[in-house]
Point group: C2
Chain length 448, copies 2
C-alpha cells in the first residue's frame, strides 16, 4: 500500500465551471473557535466519506531559495508523529479499506482520505495528530529528499514539455513566485533541510490556516461533533496573517522563448498572457475569460479547432484555456500544434490570424449557448462525485474565494454575453504581458 | 548643499582592468576585533582623504516584496541619529569644506566623504554614529519615499531604455534577484515602511558587515588609531552570516523581448548572456570575458565597430562588454544600433554574422597587445585618482573578492591568450542562457 503525492501543475479545467448555486443546498459551513473553517457536503447515496484537510499554503508561499519545500513537507507529513510511526498513517487508512492521497499546488496543500463513513473519527484523529505533532528524523529528510528529486527527474527533467513550461513560467512572472516551479528548482531542492521543513510547517500548519472538508454520507451535526472532539482542541497560531505575496510589476515587453530538445516528438507554439483570476466578489472578468477559453479551445467544436484543424488543416491540435481559480494573477493560454510541413512561424501566424478573425467576427451565439448548456449539464454530473465537489470547494476557498463566490459562479457564467467575451479577450490579449514559446525538436542553431 | 545618491546600474568598465599587483604597494589592510575590514590607500600628494564605508549588502539582498529598500535606506541614512539632526551629516561635511555621496548597487551600499585630511576623525565619528544610532520618524519615511519614487520617475519611467533594461533583466534572471531593479519595482517601493527599513538596517548595518576604506594623505597607523577610537567600540552583530543568495536554475531557453515606446529615438538590438563573474581565487574565465568585451566592443578600433560601423556601414554603434565584478552570475552583453533603413532583424543577423566571423578568424594578436598595453597604462593613471582606487577596492571586496584577487587581476588579464578568449566566448555565447531584446520606436503590432 502506498500513497500518491500529486503536484497539481495546471487547473483541472473541467471542474472550474461546474458549480451552481444549488450545489450550496447540500453544503453546510461553519468555523471552529480556533479559526478552522469546515465545509460539509452531504451525499447519502453510498456509505462513504471523503475527509480532506486543505492548508492555505502552497509553493507560491515558500521563502526565496527554498523552492519545493511545500511539496517536500507534503511528502514528509506521511512520516511519523509523536504518536505514529513513519508510514503508519497510510497503513491505517488501507487497513480500514480506504485510500489516501495528498497534493501540492501554488496556492494550497491538501491531504485526503476516502473511507467508510464510520471511520471518519479515526481519520480526524490522525489528521489532527500530524497537524501538530510531526516528528521528523534527519534520515527522513535525506531519504525523502531523494524521493522528491527522483520525482523531479521523472516529471520534469525527462519531459522537454515540462522543462519548457518551467522556462516559460519563469519568463511569464517577473516577480511573483508563480514563476517558480511547484516541485522546486533542483539546486534548491537538493539542499532543503530539517530547518526549512519545520519552519515552513510551524509557520503554516495550524487550524486557523486550514479548511476541513468532509463530503459524503455524513450530517453536519456529526461532522461538527467530531471536529469539536479532534480539531477544536488544537490552538490557533496567532502569527498567521492573511497571505500577502509579492506581486507583479507592469509587464511591458513581450517575451519569446525557443526551447529545443532532441526528445521533442511534436513541436508546438504556445502563448500565455498574464490574466485576471477570480477575485472574491469580483469574478465577472474571469468568468468571461473562462468562457473565452471554452469558445476558442473547448474541444473539437471550438473556434480554433474549427479554423485551424478542420478548415485550414494546418493543425493537429489547437486550443486555448484559462485557469481562473488562483489566489493571484493567472494566465490565459493558446496553443497550436502544426501538421508536419508547417513551421512554427507559420503556425504562430495562422493562430494569430484565427484569433484576429474571431475578434472581428465575434462570438457565435449558437456555440455560446451550446457551451452554456454543457456547463449546466456538467453541474448535474458534478453533484454525483463528492470528491470532485470537495476539490472544487477546497481549491476555491484556498484561492481567496468564499462559499458565496462558489455559489454565484455558475449563474455568473451563464449571464456572460458574447460581447463581454470579446471585450475581455481584447483586454487580455496584450502582447506586452505575453510569453510566446516555441518547442522544437532539435538544436540546429549555431550558438552565439 | 545637498548630497547626491547614485544607483550604480552598470559597472564602470574603465576601472575593471586597471588594478595591478603593484597598486598593493600603497595598500594596507587590517581587521578590527569586531570584524570590520579596513583598507588604507596612501597617496600623500594632496592633503585630502576619501573616507568610505562599504556595506556588504545591496539590492540583491533585499527580502522578496521589499525591492528598493536598500536604496531607500541609503537615502534615510542622511536623516537623524540620536546625536544629529536630519540633514546635519551633509551640512557638517560641507561646512568643513568637503563633499559627500552615497550609492547603492546589487551587491553593496556605500557612503563616502572627501575632506581635508585633518577632518578624518570627524567623518569617522559621524559615520560610526549612523551605523548604530539611526533614528527615523514616520515623516522621514513618507517624505523620503516620495523622493525615491520621484527618482524612479526620472531615471526609469521617463526613459524607455531604462524600462526596457528592467524587463530584460527580469527575463535574464529566472530566480536570482539581479532580475529585480536596484531602485525597486514601483508598486513595492510605494509601500515600503519603517519596519522594512529598520529591519534591513538592523540585519545588515554592523561593523562585521562593513569595509572601511580610507584613501589619501594618511598613514595606516593614523587610520588604525582613529578606527580604534570610533569604530572598534561598535559591537559586531553575530547574526550576520556569509551571504547565501538564491541562485539560478539551468537556463534552458533563449528569451526574446520586444519593447516598443513612442519615446524611443534610436532603436537597437541587444543581447545579454548569463556569464561567469570574478570568483575569489578563480578569475581566469572572467578575465577572458573581460578582454573579449574589450576586443569586441572597446571603442572605435574594436571588432564590432570595425565590421559593422566602418566596413558594412550598417551600424551607428556596435559594442560588447562584460561586467566582471559581481558577487553572483553576471552578464555579457552585445548591442547593435543600426543605421536608418536597417531593420532590427537585419541588425541582429549582421551582429550574429560579425560574431561568427570573429569566432572563426580568432583574436587579432596586434589588437590584443594594444588592448593589454592600454590596460597597463590605465593602471598608472588609476594610481593618480585615489577615489577611483578606493572604489575599485570597495566594489571588489563587496563582490566576494580578496585583496589578493585585486592584486592578481592585472597580471592575470595580461596573461590571457587569444585562444582563451575565443574559448570563453564559445562557452558563454549559448543562446539558452541569453536574452535578446529589440527596442523599437512605436507599437504598430495588433495586440492579440
Amino acid at each position: 500500500m502506498r500513497w500518491i503525492s500529486q503536484i497539481v501543475l495546471c487547473c483541472t479545467l473541467a471542474l472550474a465551471g461546474t458549480a451552481r448555486a444549488d450545489i450550496l443546498d447540500q453544503v453546510t459551513t461553519f468555523t471552529l473557535d480556533n479559526g478552522m473553517d469546515v465545509v460539509v457536503i452531504e451525499d447519502h447515496r453510498a456509505p462513504a466519506v471523503v475527509h480532506m484537510m486543505w492548508y492555505r499554503v502552497g509553493s507560491a508561499d515558500e521563502p526565496a531559495g527554498a523552492s519545493g519545500v511545500a511539496h517536500f513537507l507534503e511528502h514528509l507529513m506521511f512520516k511519523g508523529t509523536e504518536n505514529m510511526e513513519a508510514g503508519e498513517f497510510s497503513q491505517v487508512v488501507a487497513a480500514n479499506g480506504g485510500s489516501d492521497n495528498a497534493f501540492t499546488s501554488f496556492d494550497y496543500t491538501a491531504y485526503f482520505q476516502r473511507v467508510a463513513a464510520d471511520r471518519l473519527s479515526l481519520m480526524m484523529q490522525m489528521e489532527a495528530d500530524r497537524m501538530q505533532n510531526l516528528r521528523l528524523t534527519e534520515t527522513d529528510i535525506l531519504t525523502e529528499r531523494e524521493v522528491i528529486i527522483e520525482e523531479r527527474n521523472q516529471r520534469t527533467e525527462n519531459d522537454p514539455g515540462a522543462l519548457f513550461r518551467e522556462q516559460r513560467m519563469a519568463a511569464q512572472y517577473l516577480n511573483h513566485r508563480y514563476g517558480v516551479p511547484i516541485i522546486g528548482w533542483r539546486h534548491e531542492m537538493s539542499v532543503l533541510d530539517m530547518d526549512d521543513v519545520m519552519s515552513f510547517y510551524e509557520a503554516h500548519y495550524a487550524p486557523n490556516n486550514a479548511i476541513l472538508i468532509v463530503a459524503g454520507d455524513v450530517t453536519p451535526d456529526e461532522v461538527r461533533a467530531l471536529a469539536m472532539e479532534h480539531y477544536a482542541p488544537i490552538p490557533a497560531n496567532p502569527a498567521i496573517e492573511a497571505r500577502d505575496r509579492v506581486q507583479e510589476p507592469p509587464q511591458q515587453s513581450e517575451r519569446r522563448l525557443t526551447f529545443s530538445d532532441p526528445r521533442v516528438a511534436q513541436p508546438y507554439v504556445i502563448r500565455s498572457y498574464l490574466a485576471p483570476e477570480r477575485d472574491a466578489g469580483d469574478q465577472r472578468e474571469a468568468a468571461a475569460l473562462y468562457l473565452l477559453g471554452e469558445v476558442l479551445g473547448g474541444g473539437q467544436t471550438s473556434v480554433l479547432a474549427g479554423k485551424l484543424q478542420f478548415e485550414a488543416q494546418k493543425a493537429v491540435y489547437a486550443s486555448a484555456w484559462h485557469a481562473p481559480t488562483r489566489l493571484d494573477d493567472t494566465i490565459f493560454s493558446k496553443v497550436m500544434v502544426p501538421v508536419p510541413g508547417v513551421s512554427l512561424e507559420e503556425a504562430e501566424a495562422l493562430l494569430d490570424q484565427a484569433i484576429a478573425e474571431f475578434l472581428e467576427e465575434g462570438v457565435d451565439e449558437a456555440q455560446l449557448d451550446r457551451i452554456k448548456r454543457q456547463l449546466k449539464a456538467s453541474q448535474i454530473y458534478a453533484r454525483d462525485n463528492v470528491s470532485d465537489l470537495a476539490n472544487l470547494f477546497g481549491r476555491a476557498l484556498t484561492s481567496g474565494l468564499t462559499v458565496e463566490d462558489i455559489g454565484a459562479w455558475p449563474d455568473l457564467v451563464q449571464s456572460i454575453t458574447g460581447e463581454e467575451i470579446i471585450a475581455a479577450a481584447k483586454r487580455t490579449f496584450v502582447r506586452e504581458r505575453a510569453v510566446t514559446g516555441y518547442l522544437m525538436q532539435d538544436t540546429p542553431e549555431v550558438s552565439q
